[in-house]
Symmetry: C2
Subunit: 349 residues, 2 copies
């Protein structure tokens, strides 16, 4: 392997001078610099990170730990966000996933430590509460899409499920819907409660009575093996003589069944029922016709901001280990219609 020494030899300078050129340090003549650069090109020299690390003990590397339950396919956008940030800032990414096994997790932390990682991003594939099994390893850590339960407060970045559901509810209210159905997400998901709370509160604040809201459970049970009531619940909801004019659902996946239930009853969307989803699973939200109005989880941004935050922590900013929250974005498509002249301004900013 061609090293700094061979370059130095070819360029006729000392290895320290080559080092200076590589790192853009001052005090090198233009002429020397060019000679060295030519030698580098000619030899195809590439600096050896391992050697660099061994001297400076800064690896410029972040580790990513994921749990990787791939039921929520778009959450990998978090990783993409991190990678893009890392790329833009000259960091390297080491990746590992636990598959849920906690012995595995301990190994991973050891592995990270042995690579002298600068910091760790602990990423879960759905929004939840977890406690990282760090073993006795301590490396600066930021949690993304999850939050620690116990004492040891690690900074975390989470999606704002509450605000997302609030926006969707307002969107429906704004368009004149006064009887709204809500089919709930599996309650073991952290987002489920937040979204439901937002829905209730927002509708309540607007003046709707609890009787205007039909709130029903759509799924329950362990992730990956849940019981699914969505089709039945939606069918029932839509058969009431006083049926809702709009249905909100826990996520886009559930929405497919609501669509099918509606169509099976001969109802048109959005003329007869308006429907909104949550998550913006694009395989679903764009494939449904009419395309689905939904709230996009800010996965990519979570990744970017998480990396940014971790970088701050590593650099030593004594940042309060607070939990930051990133807003969801309402994606307006064509699954909702206005029932009456828009009651404008009611919820405008």
């Amino acid at each position: 392997m061609v090293s700094i020494v061979s370059v130095a030899k070819v360029a006729g300078v000392s290895n320290k001078t080559v080092s200076r050129v590589i790192n853009g340090e001052p005090y090198v003549t233009e002429e020397t610099r060019e000679r060295v650069e030519k030698a580098i090109r000619d030899l195809g020299y590439v600096p050896n990170m391992a050697a660099r690390l061994i001297r400076s003990s800064r690896s410029n590397t972040f580790g990513i730990i994921t749990d990787y339950v791939s039921t929520t396919p778009y959450s990998v956008d978090i990783v993409r966000g991190v990678q893009d940030w890392a790329n833009a800032n000259g960091k390297t990414i080491l990746m590992a996933n636990t598959g849920g096994a906690s012995e595995r997790e301990i190994e991973i932390w050891k592995m990270f430590q042995s690579h002298r990682i600068d910091g760790v991003l602990y990423i879960t594939m759905f929004h939840r509460i977890v406690d990282p099994e760090t073993g006795d390893v301590s490396i600066p850590t930021v949690m993304i899409n999850c939050r620690p339960q116990t004492h040891e407060l690690l900074p975390s970045i989470e999606p704002d499920d509450y605000q997302g559901a609030q926006d969707l509810t307002r969107y429906l209210l704004d368009r004149g819907h006064r009887k709204i159905g809500y089919i709930r997400l599996n309650p073991i998901l952290l987002g489920a409660q937040l979204r439901l709370d937002a829905f209730r509160k927002t509708a309540g604040d607007f003046g709707l009575a609890e009787s205007d809201l039909s709130i029903r459970l759509g799924m329950e049970g362990p992730v990956g093996a849940e019981k699914n009531y969505v089709f039945a619940v939606a069918t029932e909801m839509l058969q009431q003589k006083d049926r809702p004019t709009a249905i909100m659902s826990g996520n886009d996946e559930m929405t497919i069944q609501i669509y099918i239930a509606a169509m099976a009853l001969g109802l048109r969307i959005p003329e007869d029922v308006s429907i909104v989803g949550f998550d913006d699973f694009r395989t679903v939200s764009l494939a449904l016709k009419p395309e689905l109005t939904t709230a996009a989880l800010p996965y990519y941004d979570l990744g970017q901001e998480g990396a940014e935050l971790l970088n701050g922590v590593v650099a030593g900013s004594k940042a309060r280990p607070s939990s930051r929250v990133v807003p969801c974005k309402l994606v307006e498509r064509t699954s909702v219609c206005s029932l009456e002249p828009r009651t404008s301004g009611r919820f405008d900013l």
Copy 2:
């Protein structure tokens, strides 16, 4: 940072002896070994990979390059497959994604080189033909879910789209379907042609005439901004007086619209039309009711086998740079019904 030297000091032996213990070399007394191990535990010593690499110039690290068009959400299972293999075999994974930019790609290869990566897995998120932009870097490489176009033949691992479509077609024929509709995938996808060919050939071999097959284009245009005719095409197909008894579609995403089209026409699935998909996007195939019979792409296996193959290449097995193909798996659910007593054995193994 605690190093081998501090351990040696505590244990009262030379650093070489510590090294021996760490690497499980012979010629160490049980008693010494225990003393050293205790010192390691007490100090929380973890070997420094960088230093190890610098000595042995084997990084035990694989790099992953992805293009990361996240339109095909489950293809990240490839990465999971690689990671699990790496974990089981003590390798580390460095990840980077191009986002499609080729300058970026060249940078990545440089970066990999500077980490003295042992080999590279070049992974695309949908099945296609690509030529890696390696710059002038040469590292052992295996391509997964894609295939090189030009001269420089790199080994590759691909899903067997042909066999998958063949299995699905046989499945329908076996159940008595003799008039079958087919809604084609975007032709710019490599799988599109393979799947269509398999469908045509298999139906033809069985004795169906071209007139028994209605083959229609469902999508076209650049990935991410394609034109979508699926709903219209499906509606039209199902309105023919002599309509097909079963419809195959390019992928599960398209299938949603076929379901909706069918329901809108008052047709029941599978009693009036049977439907099969392709890909097993579980957000869709499990969410549709009735659940969708489809062919699962072997993403996870692609990852595993790719890593395995790369390992062989790195170890120097002069393996022919052949293209290996991994079978798709038919996932039987409830979207297909039998039209007549099963013509058993026709296609049995």
